[in-house]
Symmetry: C2
Subunit: 396 residues, 2 copies
């Protein structure tokens, strides 16, 4: 695996950080999840089977767990010892907390001058909002991302999934991986700090809406499922459901008309250019909607795709997992979890021809790898027993 042998000390909880370190773990890194003796709150969230959260299972596969009381100075000593031989430290405390815990830049530099430290926060490590409490929803709202999602006559809408947590997790894994390439070429640059914010991550996704506003002052608007520049485009009801269709330019629009057997529309001077179709979108809808309703979704998808027109089903989550393409791509996996039975979870979106991602280890029990990890770090059995008795180390 690509990141085999890379040791990551993971202080993150809930989603954003753990998703980033799950990506690193899936790519082969040796991720040590440091938990409080109470454990990552995610262990208690989501639906459980055999008293085991499948939500937790998906975000913590391929990781090891060491449960340490970091408010106890002895616990902090253990963490520092683990950091000595680590390549990466990831944390998602509020900015400044790491420092207060006793892990200031100077201290970290002294422990391991080759360490890559990635901090994930709501608004970033600096700036006027850095100390504000953060949450995915707040980042979606503040970044402008919500402002362009929703119906034209409705309010700004968040996505139903915590998109900013997921995007920031991806950015953290990318920043860390890229730096591991750099470090290998150029040792001895000292501790590298990487600072990634939920809000910045979502702002970086504003794409053409940002470019067109910055270039020409065009204020982005919400337009539901309609495109802001192309018509027709959107959802259409069929005989048995609905399909998404996106004839993205004039060439594809002609193919679209041919499949519908409506090539006479090319002569209709109310809708014979994209600009007119945007303006007369009500006419466009009136023309095409009844035709889509005459056949099933499967019919339109097959005919349109054969003609080169992007058309696809609008699937619910249960339908996604029944879809032959999604199944073929193993985007839902059945993973044996021993006594807990088989756990279904999302698959790997990065498909490598050599050394593909696999579930090497299922999500750990709280503190499952405490003894093993401390022995590796040079602790004796007696020292480990003492840490256990004093409540600094919790293991199974």
């Amino acid at each position: 695996m690509s990141l085999q042998g890379i040791r990551v000390i993971d202080l993150t909880r809930i989603i954003a950080g753990p998703f980033g370190t799950q990506l690193l773990a899936d790519l082969g890194a040796d991720v040590i999840k440091i938990e409080t003796p109470a454990g990552d709150p995610l262990r208690a969230q989501g639906e459980k089977v055999n008293d085991f959260s499948w939500y937790f299972a998906g975000y913590n596969r391929n990781k090891k767990s060491v449960a340490l009381d970091l408010r106890n100075p002895e616990g902090m000593k253990v963490l520092k010892r683990l950091l000595k031989d680590a390549d990466v430290l990831v944390e998602n405390f509020r900015p400044g907390v790491l420092d207060k815990m006793g892990l200031s830049k100077d201290v970290l530099e002294e422990i391991n001058s080759n360490l890559i430290i990635c901090s994930i926060s709501g608004f970033g490590a600096d700036g006027p909002y850095s100390q504000r409490p953060a949450f995915d929803f707040i980042a979606q709202a503040l970044s402008g991302f919500m402002s362009v999602t929703g119906e034209a006559d409705g309010p700004p809408l968040r996505t139903g999934l915590p998109i900013s947590d997921l995007v920031v997790g991806l950015y953290s894994a990318l920043a860390i991986s890229s730096r591991l390439v750099g470090r290998q070429k150029d040792d001895g640059t000292g501790v590298q700090y990487i600072d990634i914010a939920l809000t910045d991550s979502m702002v970086s996704f504003l794409s053409f809406q940002a470019a067109n506003f910055l270039a020409a002052g065009i204020e982005p608007k919400r337009s539901g499922n309609d495109h802001q520049l192309v018509a027709p485009y959107g959802l259409a009801e069929t005989a048995d459901g609905s399909v998404a269709f996106a004839p993205s330019n004039d060439g594809v629009y002609k193919k679209f008309l041919k499949v519908l057997d409506m090539e006479y529309c090319l002569e209709d001077d109310r809708i014979d250019t994209n600009a007119k179709r945007m303006k007369n979108s009500a006419i466009v809808k009136e023309l095409f909607e009844p035709v889509f309703k005459t056949q099933t979704s499967a019919y339109w998808i097959e005919k349109m795709n054969a003609a080169g027109v992007p058309v696809g089903p609008v699937l619910s989550v249960p339908e996604v997992f029944e879809d032959p393409q999604i199944q073929h791509r193993e985007m839902v996996m059945d993973v044996d979890h021993g006594d807990r039975g088989s756990v279904k979870m999302l698959g790997f979106p990065m498909k490598f021809s050599h050394d593909p991602c696999t579930v090497r280890e299922t999500a750990p029990d709280l503190g499952q790898h405490g003894e093993e990890t401390l022995l590796e770090a040079g602790y004796t059995e007696v020292e480990i027993a003492e840490l256990r008795e004093s409540g600094v180390l919790k293991d199974v």
Copy 2:
């Protein structure tokens, strides 16, 4: 920079691929954008200033451009020569096209057995849908991502930004970077193929909605800006606009009530547990909505944040770029483009303490680096002139 010295040959166009290679370029890679003599269609899209698309500028900074006619065998020869010394090839043709162009696995293996090849496609390199025409909107619909976005009584809604193009771009940059780490440790494994699909990428974002469905059969539903598990949560109108608020658990809910001076709600047995508040969400809204309207957004944001309650503004894209935090974080940059003037574009979400991302080079003119790149690859001035005259090489 982290990826300095890494040579990427980039055959991608439009957004998904170019966003991935822009991330690699921002991280220091030497990205050679191979364009047709007509150029990346994105050059003609988006609002222009001084006949220059700012949309194109943002996605192609830090890259070089070589314009080659790859349908001419001489053009393909040039590409093969460039691949000899490259580390990475990225492409987003439909699966099978690379092969038809003459770049089969065997040929690539022979040219450069250390090459990392990343293919981005709509549905993936294999499976029943691999040959379907793809588009961001279709991937949002098919992946189930749309099914959970939208009002409870409305249709599934796409995000206003091409989220699947952006997420797949991020995954491609991560997969490539991680593999560069692996390759350095373990040379000689032969060509590595990485296959990444828009649909798989979005399925991998189904998060707790997928986990809860797979564990307990709970079908994810749309709920607008309301949370599916926590109340109150959502948007509230204030005296001068609206705010997003997310008191994520009982502890934060108490702080929220204190700021509103409504602690008596703790005694109201219609809403004294989260479960009851979810059930009686109409009562919850009736109680809180009028109070939010008595003060400005700024007032609530300040008071709530000081108390530890996540509350933030809902910003439009123009407002985002005026926001002090976003400005502090340099998420919009003013980049000197010589004769084209100053171009505003999105900043870098990955903030590195050493060797931060910078704009080393502005987006290239079509074919701007043809001569330079071919000279580096060992072509003589005479050979380059011949390629230019025969129309194989287009440069400025």
